[in-house]
């Protein structure tokens, strides 16, 4: 029945179109859902609204799992000669997508004015990952940064000022020691801080490295700097949080359980993505504080999340239609709705100027922290053969955290492994 309705409405639509002489364009959009919440439904609603406003465009938004699943599907489909028009993919995949020759730059389809006002209107920190060799390869959409959530009630109980969260590494250790609570048999009932290290520890680690004044890679994605002293220091600091200062749980700390550990009072401070803001804000039974990550030599975080990518292999008309949709989706009104519903950081200054967004910030001042932090944000770790090189770094961080290697040894090994992989791309 649904099929019949669909096809009859399609017939009707086609009839209407043929009369108005416009030709229908069918677009395919692959999108992942990386954080909880209602992201999938919101994307569906957005595409439906767009189709209602633009009768000559049909958008098929296909939910394709996690970021990794979406990349896999997009690559497989493209290799099979059936690429989607658009896909929201992890911004760090840019080198791989270029290398495989699957995506094209947006620039040639845009006027000079569009390049300046639209593409140029995104925060530089969010453009950094996909603006390569003078061309725009991705349009920032679902982007995030890590922030520090803290429990104001726990701060009060420990005799700390709840309005003055630690702003540098020394203060973090000092506050962490006061916030770590042990019971009579010396078991910890509340940890000072929690920085997750399962799965992708490189992300919070990169924030520590940047705060320590280090860079992990070059812009061309062909070099890594794992064995630099400032990087080694950052990893030593990460390890010492549990080993020396005993303010963080030992061993690998899980990502997925981090919001719950924080909400349950198992930790007084937690560093995790802004993508969890909506969840934590609505479920916190205590007074919630959100702060920038503490600095050492400087403030600093890496961005994360996904961009719109434009796939090769379509005629100009449908590519232009796809671009028009992305322009609409990143326009202030739509982007504000998206950001409020998901917790992703609105990627353009003009989005923060909308009434919706201003009201949201009044309700959830934590959202503003992520925006202010953008000024100190840099590109997320990304190189050629990104997944493999990133895994080398992840393994090194894990080895140091569990004490199988010293921070220095782990990072030196990682550097030589990464060199072996990237050698090919340095000509």
């Amino acid at each position: 029945m649904k099929q019949i309705l669909k096809s009859s409405s399609l017939c009707g639509a086609m009839l209407a179109l043929s009369m108005s002489t416009a030709l229908a364009v069918d677009l395919e959009l692959y999108f992942p859902v990386a954080v909880g919440g209602d992201a999938a439904n919101i994307i569906q609603e957005m595409t439906e609204q767009y189709m209602a406003e633009n009768a000559d465009v049909e958008i098929n938004a296909i939910y394709t799992g996690s970021y990794a699943d979406t990349t896999t599907r997009a690559i497989t489909a493209a290799r099979g000669g059936n690429p989607p028009h658009l896909a929201i993919l992890s911004a760090v995949d840019v080198f791989m997508l270029q290398d495989e020759g699957l995506v094209e730059a947006w620039d040639s389809y845009l006027t000079k004015d569009e390049l300046e006002t639209w593409v140029g209107g995104f925060y530089d920190a969010f453009r950094a990952n996909t603006y390569k060799v003078g061309k725009t390869w991705g349009i920032p959409f679902q982007r995030s940064t890590p922030v520090m959530y803290y429990n104001k009630d726990a701060f009060k109980a420990a005799g700390l000022d709840p309005e003055a969260p630690p702003s540098n590494w020394e203060e973090l250790i000092e506050a962490g020691k006061k916030l770590t609570v042990r019971d009579d048999s010396d078991n910890v009932t509340q940890w000072g801080v929690r920085i997750p290290s399962s799965g992708f520890p490189y992300w919070p680690f990169q924030a520590l490295a940047i705060a320590n004044g280090a860079e992990l890679m070059n812009e061309e994605g062909t070099e890594t700097y794992f064995d630099q002293p400032a990087v080694i220091e950052a990893l030593e600091f990460f390890v010492d949080l549990s080993k020396k200062h005993e303010i963080m749980a030992p061993g690998i700390v899980d990502w997925g359980a981090t919001p719950r550990a924080f909400l349950d009072g198992e930790t007084a401070m937690a560093i995790t993505t802004t993508g969890n803001l909506t969840n934590i804000r609505t479920n916190a039974t205590f007074d919630l504080g959100v702060a920038m990550l503490p600095k050492n030599k400087q403030y600093g975080v890496a961005t994360g999340g996904g961009d719109f990518f434009l796939f090769k292999g379509h005629d100009e008309e449908s590519t232009r239609a796809a671009i028009d949709f992305v322009k609409w989706a990143t326009a202030p009104e739509q982007a504000a709705t998206w950001s409020i519903a998901t917790g992703y950081v609105a990627p353009r200054p003009d989005i923060w100027e909308t009434e919706k967004m201003k009201e949201y910030v009044r309700e959830a001042p934590g959202a503003l922290v992520a925006r202010n932090q953008l000024e100190h944000a840099v590109a997320e770790f990304s190189t050629y053969e990104n997944a493999r090189v990133r895994q080398i770094l992840n393994d090194a961080i894990a080895a140091a955290i569990v004490g199988e290697k010293s921070a220095e040894q782990a990072l030196k090994d990682a550097q030589s492994e990464a060199d072996a992989v990237l050698k090919l791309y340095r000509q």
Binding site: A68, T72, I75, M96, Q98, D99, E100, G101, S185, D186, N187, V188, S197, S198, G199, A249, P250, G251, I252, V253, D254, G256, A257, A261, D264, E266, E385, A387, R388, Q391, N394, D395, A396, A398, A399, I401, V402, E404
Partner: protein, 304 residues
């Protein structure tokens, strides 16, 4: 004399031909699917393992055995093989023992038999991904189920999945828990087929229940045990879904298994030819073990 013979031989030949054509036609759909989706990819995998991975502008080049050499000097591959051996060495006997004891327990007439059987079978019905998420919360250091129980005895929390010494065993336990219920069903069916008269005869002879189990039950259910052990062996290489959820092979590859590593190489690193090489190794291992189990053990399995 020659003529009648020709008549007699010709007719059956036509019959045979027609039967053959019919047989082939009937087999064709299944054969096509089998060749298209099983045998061709298998052959293709072997061929791919001799070539390099094509990337963008660089087409594949013939490498010969380079991928295999690389594999032997790949520390993560060695780690995955050792881990998988430990994983198999624990999950296979443990699931069989647990399944058999559960089956023996619920095959007797006890109160709430149906409920108990269902309870034992439930883990199998749940998808492994969901199971892994539940167990992840059991394992949470400090406030997970296990640490709360340990807390009652004043023991300190353990980061079960987050330290290299326990991560692999934490995963192994989930596998045993998940598949034992499924194997129990087979044992339960096998136990039903043991004639009641044997039990009565043993009782008359005054055999203890242990002697009865060891001398009567165990030999009679041997074919089932073989079937279950083959399945458990395959599962030891196949069931890695929970690794994705619980440890992602970490920390520092402490819990990496062969199939998980193949996925990493193939679909995260896009090194498809190296993934093909690893796949060949896994298929060879499975084939050797499977054939070995059937041919070597089969003779001693059927009680006559």
């Amino acid at each position: 004399m020659a003529a009648p013979e020709r008549v007699f031989t010709k007719r059956p030949q036509i019959m045979i031909k027609r039967e053959w054509i019919n047989a082939w036609l009937l087999l064709m759909p299944a054969l096509l699917l089998l060749f298209g989706f099983t045998h061709l990819p298998a052959v293709q995998t072997v061929l791919d393992s001799f070539w390099s991975t094509p990337r963008g502008q660089r087409p594949a080049v013939f490498l010969g055995l380079d991928n295999y050499e690389r594999m032997l000097s790949d520390a993560v591959f060695i780690k995955a093989m050792i881990n998988n051996a430990i994983y198999a060495a624990i999950t296979i006997p443990a699931s069989i023992a647990l399944a058999l004891s559960m089956a023996l327990f619920v095959s007797r007439k006890i109160l709430g038999q149906g409920l108990l059987r269902m309870a034992y079978f439930t883990p199998t019905v749940l998808p492994l991904i969901a199971v892994a998420n539940i167990w992840l919360f059991f394992y949470l250091p400090g406030f997970g189920l296990f640490d709360q129980i340990r807390g009652l005895f004043g023991l300190s929390p353990v980061n079960w999945v987050g330290q290299p010494s326990t991560a692999l065993y934490a995963i192994t336990a989930v596998t045993v828990w998940n598949q034992a219920g499924f194997f129990m069903i087979f044992f339960l069916a096998a136990l039903q087929t043991i004639p009641q008269s044997l039990r009565e005869a043993a009782a008359l002879e005054g055999a203890s229940s242990w002697v009865f189990f060891w001398r009567v039950t165990w030999p009679l259910i041997m074919p089932t045990t073989l079937f279950v052990s083959v399945n458990a062996t395959i599962n030891a290489f196949r069931m890695v879904d929970h690794v994705f959820v619980m440890t992602q092979g970490g920390p520092n590859n402490a819990s990496i298994l062969l199939l998980y590593y193949i996925y990493d190489q193939g679909f995260r690193f896009w090194d498809t030819s190296y993934a093909a090489t690893l796949t060949v190794v896994m298929v060879v291992i499975l084939a050797v073990v499977g054939i070995g189990q059937f041919f070597l053990l089969d003779r001693r399995v059927h009680y006559r």
